[in-house]
Amino acid sequence: MKKLIALLLALVMVLGLVACGSGNETPATDAPVSDAGNETPATDAPAASGEKVEVTMIAAQYGTQTADWWANFVSEFNAANENINLVVDVVSWNDIYTVVNTRIANGEAPDLLNIDVFADYQADGLLLPASEWVSEETYAKFYPAFLEQSVVDDVVWAVPDLASARALYYNVDILNEVGVEVPTTWDELTDVCQKIYDYYGGEVYPWGVDMTTDEGQACFAYYIWNNGGDFTDAEGNWTLNSAENVEAIEYIIGLVNAGLTNSDPANETRYDNQDMFGAGKVAMMIGPNSIPTYCSVGGYDVNYAVASIPVNGDNASVSAGVMDRIMCFDNGYTDEELAAVTAVVDAFYDDEPYSEWVLMEDFLPATSAGGEAMAAANPESAAWIEIVGSAKFYPTAKAEWADVKQGVIDVLQQALLGEDVQTLLDDLQAEIAG
């Protein structure tokens, strides 16, 4: 009997621990529904009774000021629109996908969502086309190139709320000390890296690289785009194993193997590199426009400057853009409810609050008015607005993107371990394109 009880107890413990371990991927049952909690689901909005129309929104937390900004926006909006009750949950990036998926699975999708991806929700038929909930006036404000990033089947499904772009950051003091110019091509880059390496005897890493699960896809993009390659061709077919891509990845892997980069690109994230850049341990790296803020908040006193990302041969330099979006879930709205959603979106993109929004967390605007406001506030940012205007974006509108993203990170890491780049990319292409 004792044996049996002991056995049972052990089984219960196994069950318990497995339940703990698996709680992560059971959003429907035990994940917290939201940070702010207890707001009524969108479908319960008491529009029919002539009371306030409720609009619910989940917004990503970009930084320390995001929640305050939204709280302020909500109180001002609700004061100005007496018949609308706007409720915004600000959720951290770590939790937001789980929270959104939980809400969707429970039939409590928010009305509006501010997040980076949209294709997965669109593929499930959960979204409304932007033309149905964005007024023409607001729609006209967006950079057309940005709207194109949210098109599936010739329909725009989401609108951009902000963007960021990447460029080459270099430590001016180190380059002057070594006596080299800023590299503009890969040949120059190799040469400059070697000179920095020799000068400091390996104490300074010439080039910062991040091939981690965090953001390895960005590394992949920097090199293929600046070698004339791309993830897809003009028709949107995957071209992961193109000759340009193979050459680009072989180049950067070669740079790592030659010892000219940080020591462990598969485990050192961009933030690790930014810290080392700030401390003068990394001489050059490709990074976002938020690096100045990162350095000043981190207390780093580094003399840096910005340049275009180096290219192979005479290709045009391409910056990598990242864009976040606002989308509207199809919750079976009445005309009145849809008008309320439109009112919220119009208020958000109104020039004054929107300029504040973009300037607040050091991002780049997605509307021309926001761009003008930013350029006026800070002349240096004008260059960035130009950069983001010409940046390429990840093909996030394609349903396979999540697999491609993890796939290219895996390719980079396997290549670091000595596998053949051509074979790896051939395999990935076969897996993705079928």
């Binding site: 059971t26 959104v100 999540a402 993890q406």
Partner: protein
Amino acid sequence: MKKNSPKKAPKNSLARTIEPYIWIAPSVILMAIFIVIPIGYVFYMSVSEISKAGLVKGFAGLENFSKVLGSSKFSLVLKNTVVWTIMVVVLSTVLGFILALLLNNKFKGRKIARAIVVFPWATTLVIQASAWKFIIDTDYGALNTLLKSLGIIGANVNWTPTPEAFFAWEIACGIFVTIPFVCFTALSGLQSIDSSYYEAATVDGATYFQQLFNITLPLVKPSLTVATVLNIIYVFNSFPIVWTITKGDPASRTDTLVTYLYKLAFYNGKQGEAAAVSVIGFLILLVCASVYMVSTLKKGDE
């Protein structure tokens, strides 16, 4: 009693039958809500087709399982998990037991020594793992700084040049945080051994090791068994150490089943396959824990 109050008896016995169930009802209900239902849901997800937005699209049969088992990563990850579990459990059990033997001796400062042993256990795993990551960091690591200031090394040493080296450090970290648990379980076993056994053995001329293997070990075995079973389950399912130090990078070489399924679910959006991995892990644990319990308890009875 029975004869004096014949009418009351059935009512009493009914109440008595029901009463224990009322007392355990809250825990049963809690367990049902927080353990049984989520587990049931994971099984349900593992045989469902689930979209990336998390909607269940229909019944998928064993497709998720065949995809998982067919992927080249899975065998690598399973191998890692087995190595991880065996290394951490075996080494922490041996080291924890030795430490318990030391702490069972009477010496000055024993209480302080015992308190210090608890520290690694009392600290959150994420913090432990972050600290280890910081210690072995090539550029800013405490280990390199220490060795440099002692003049043992001239330049920074890369302590993690290969994925295997990284994995070994993760195992070391796992052992470090598991030792206290084994140590205290063993210590409680050691303290319950009657000292007269040892006195008798000493009188008979038994050596220290004879005493260790013939008296101490058999008597501590039940507590070590419990510790080992719990450890197998706990270490197998451990997420924070691997995730904090390497996230399974590079190319899944340091992934265990749990970090692998986390990436499947939240980085690749394949929740169905992630649930399938979870179910496979559950079955492995179930078999291991049952076999171990049954065999050791049987031996204990003989």
